[in-house]
Each structure stands twice: as structure tokens, then as C-alpha cells.
């Protein structure tokens, strides 16, 4: 190889090394803070579906992993009070108009919905995004519902013969959300004993 090639290679290499070091140092400096922020975010979203009144532990660190009906791992965040499991929260996924809708579902020990919140979605702004709690109170009407007080065939949007409103101009989004919550409660029923096991 010619001398010029070596010069170019070493210039490029020196820049890579230099910026590599800068990035490594920054990563190290910010790593702890970023982990802390992510934990805080998770705590905040969990506190919306697991009211602080029902637990004396930190659900974000009290987790177990179970397999759902499709055989995929689901992380269960557990709220306990005096060693008794009083509620659990886990992520459920519904199929929306523009991709998956990820939600956090909180269920108490009797299988009643404590709360549901959207984590991420790609629904149409102005139509499908009314599932977010800051854009409408639609998502709050699931609070307190269970298979015991709402028969299974009513867990659908009104258009499909159920009891939940769809939005004008958007049916697929609420249908996806209702379906995800229904599946989430089935999952709770199936894994209840493991979820509520103390310790």
C-alpha cells in the first residue's frame, strides 16, 4: 500500500478513536441518570394503574415473569400490602388502525380492572388518540369492571354488540383496546394463582 493510503487511514482511525472515547465517557457519565429516569417513568405509569393506597411495596421492583397464551414472556408488576398481593399490572397489546397499541393494565386480586393507560400507539391524531387519558376520559370507563360484573359478550364495542362506545370516525382503535383488555383479563384468570402467590 502507498504511503498516502496509510496517512488517510490513520487520520480516519484517529478521529474514530477520539470520538469513540468522547462517546464512551459521556455514556458512562449519563448511564446512571438515564437508568434512574427510566425507573421513574415506569413508577409513574404504574402508579396510575396501581393506586398507592393498595400497596406498601414498590411494584416496579417486585416483578415475576409469566408466559401468556401465545407463550410470550410477560413481566408482572405486583402490588403487595402486608405480604398479601393486592393487585398486579402488566403490559397488554391491542391491534390498532396503524400498528400495535401498547397498554398497561392494572387488575386487583378479585379480577377487577384498577386502571388502564396507553403506553404507546400510532393511531390517527384527532380520531384514534382519544384513548389517551389526556385527550379524553374514554379509557377511564373500564375502571372497576370485571368478568364478574360485566358478562363476557358485553366486552366489545357497541358496533359489535358490546357495551363500549366507539369514536366517530374510529372504530378499529377502540375495538383493539377493548379486545386487548378482554384478553388481559383472560390472562389474569388463567394465571391468577401464580400472580397472587405471596413472596
Amino acid at each position: 500500500m502507498s504511503r498516502a493510503t496509510w496517512i488517510h487511514a490513520s487520520i480516519l482511525g484517529a478521529f474514530c478513536l477520539g470520538f469513540g472515547i468522547v462517546l464512551a465517557v459521556t455514556d458512562q457519565q449519563t448511564n446512571d441518570d438515564i437508568k434512574q429516569r427510566i425507573l421513574e417513568d415506569k413508577e409513574r405509569s404504574l402508579s396510575q394503574v396501581l393506586p398507592t393506597a393498595i400497596h406498601d411495596n414498590s411494584p416496579v421492583t417486585d416483578t415475576i415473569t409469566l408466559k401468556d397464551a401465545k407463550g410470550e414472556d410477560v413481566t408482572i408488576y405486583r402490588a403487595t400490602k402486608g405480604g398479601q398481593v393486592t393487585g398486579v399490572a402488566y403490559t397488554i397489546v391491542g391491534s390498532g388502525y396503524a400498528g400495535p397499541i401498547r397498554l398497561m393494565l392494572g387488575v386487583d386480586a378479585e379480577g377487577k380492572v384498577l386502571g388502564v393507560r396507553v403506553i404507546t400507539h400510532k393511531e390517527t391524531p384527532g380520531l384514534g388518540d382519544k384513548i389517551q387519558v389526556d385527550k379524553g376520559d374514554w379509557i377511564l370507563r373500564f375502571n372497576g369492571l370485571s368478568f364478574a360484573n360485566t358478562p363476557l359478550e358485553k366486552w366489545k364495542v357497541k358496533k359489535d354488540g358490546g357495551q363500549f362506545d366507539q369514536f366517530s370516525g374510529a372504530t378499529i382503535t377502540p375495538r383493539g383496546v377493548v379486545g386487548a383488555i378482554r384478553e388481559g383479563l383472560h390472562f389474569f384468570d388463567a394465571q391468577k394463582s401464580k400472580m397472587l402467590e405471596a413472596g
Binding site: 488517510h8 487520520i11 478521529f15 470520538f19 468522547v22 459521556t26 457519565q29 441518570d33 429516569r37 391524531p125
Partner: protein, 223 residues
Amino acid sequence: MATPYKTIIKDGLWENNGVIAMLLGMCPTMAVTTSATNGLGLGIATAVVMAASSLLVALFRNTITQEVRIPVYILIIASMTTLVDLCMNAWMHEMYKVLGLFIPLIVSNCLPLARLEAFAAKEPVSRSFLDGLFMGIGFTLALVVIGAIRELIGNGTVFADAALLLGPAFHFMELRLLPADSGVLLAILPPGGFLVTGLVLVAKRMIDLAAGKEIRMAGAHSV
């Protein structure tokens, strides 16, 4: 010949504006201008990356050889973007939650690379820094204008959620100018991005024509 400071500032903000004159960086422009706040956030982040990378390239312009300059420029832009990404995630987390998704788009924006090649590689450090900074501010202005128009037509608001980005003191910026549910959704959807950007381009040319300026095709190469 060093470019005068005044020309650098005027070029960045208006004459040779990254979006509405050079038509560079269309990908992030279309993606984030669904609201004025998003445009402002990505604009500021881009301006920081552009100012920093222009400064670095000008500093090392005599070391970087012609043959390896493009990979070195991209390396510098990508490093600066990653730095901004990490620092925002750690210390401006609320802002990061709104903008985090868009920050990596800065690397795919051809505007920083174009300015490094056309300006910072030839000009002294102070002027290059100024060029990067004002090209970035010009980019921000264009994004805010396009975002505000799309948001107003589509949603009836301007600068909605600005407080989330800038802090609670900025609640006063959040305006609702039209009643809720009166928006034309098209403006927020992708076609609206092209339509509004096109109309803003027309507006710029009409202003330039009215001022008696000659309309010339600006390009990434023009200084």
C-alpha cells in the same frame, strides 16, 4: 476570502435557508412538523448539532484530507447527535420523551453534512460556528412556521404542549385559536406536510419577488 458575518446570518435565516431555499432536510421536516412545538424542539437540537460539528470541522479542516473527509464529517455529526441524545435523556428527560424519537433523524438530515462540505471545510472557526448556528436557527424557524400552520389548520392550536418542552413557565405560549374538533385533519397527515411546505416556499418567493430580488436556484453548494 472569508464570508462577512452579516452574509452568514442573512443566508442562514432567509436567503439560503436550509428548508425553504435549499430544500434540504425534507425527511425530518415532514416527520416532525405536525405541531409547532415538535418543530421547535427538533430545530433546537439540530442547531446545537450543526453549530458543534461546524466548529469541529473548521478546527480540524487542515488535518482532514480530501479523500477521507466525508466519513469524518459523518462521524462528527453522528457523535454530536449521540452526545445530544444521551445528555437530553439524562438531564432533560421531559423534553427527551417528546423529542427522543426524532433526535436520531438529525444524522439522516443532509443539511449539516451539506454545510460542513460547503462552508466549514473552507472557512475559519468563528465563521463556521456562526454558519452552523444560524443555518440551524433558520432550520428551526422554517420548522416552527410549517409546524404552526399545520397545527393551526389541523388542530386549531398553536404551540400545544410547549410547556412540556420548555418548562411550566411557557404555558402562555399554548394557544387555542380555533374551537376543538374544527380542524382539517389532512394538514397533520403526511400530505399536509407537502402542501404546507410548498405553500411556504411560494410565500418566500413572492416576498423575494416583491422586494425586487432576482430568484435564483439556491443549492447546497452556494455559500
